[in-house]
Symmetry: C2
Subunit: 98 residues, 2 copies
DNA sequence: AATTTATATCGTTTTTTCCCGATATATCAA
DNA sequence: TTGATATATCGGGAAAAAACGATATAAATT
């Protein structure tokens, strides 16, 4: 875990917002058909954010490179979901390492 | 606790470095006379960092505004120390809120 | 094969952050 | 009060980050 990259990834209101949405996707993406265990696709997140597609795609990439989310491609769609293990690990890092 | 401000404060290698030093000041500032419970003064941190006085002062301010460190003035010196409660709180936030 | 849909990447502009030197302020010592 | 020391603040230049539109890629559909 690259602490600096993780903190940078968390230093942006758009990305924090996305993480909140992905925490309880059933609350924020009720229209989704796909089971939430798969994640949420980029387009849904983009629509909700009001930002452009490229911006959201970039922001998701930043979080993925930091290890905070994972993605899986299914057909034309890419589903992103939180990597909860990363948050647990980060919690420990903050509590005792940093 | 302003999460965004905290993460921004942690998104800088110089500041992360300073936090490490302040975690075990007796290891990193053995020359200090003042008891470590008071904190470490700006000049010592600056000397160790190799950066300019203004840069270190700014970086300490950023962390103080985020609540990660506290400062106390004693005569001409300002001593900074970690606010461990903030890290505990942040750990909980990362584990369950974000 | 051609078209459509979803996402990623590229190039650019704007904004923010970082670090610096210079200067201001505060305290101490003479 | 003057001079010295420690820290904070200011102004600016360089670098990094953020967001955008345009375009490329990948998969599905016809």
């Amino acid at each position: 875990m690259n602490h600096l990259a993780v903190f940078k990834a968390l230093s942006n209101p758009t990305r924090l917002q996305i993480l909140t949405w992905l925490k309880t996707p059933e609350a924020y993406f009720p229209e989704q058909q796909e089971p939430f265990s798969t994640g949420v696709c980029v387009g849904q997140i983009q629509k909700k954010s009001g930002m452009t597609q490229s911006t959201i795609s970039e922001n998701l990439s930043v979080m993925q490179r930091a290890g905070l989310v994972t993605s899986i491609r299914k057909g034309q769609w890419t589903y992103y979901k939180r990597n909860e293990a990363a948050f647990e690990q980060l919690s420990l890092v903050v509590a005792s390492e940093i």
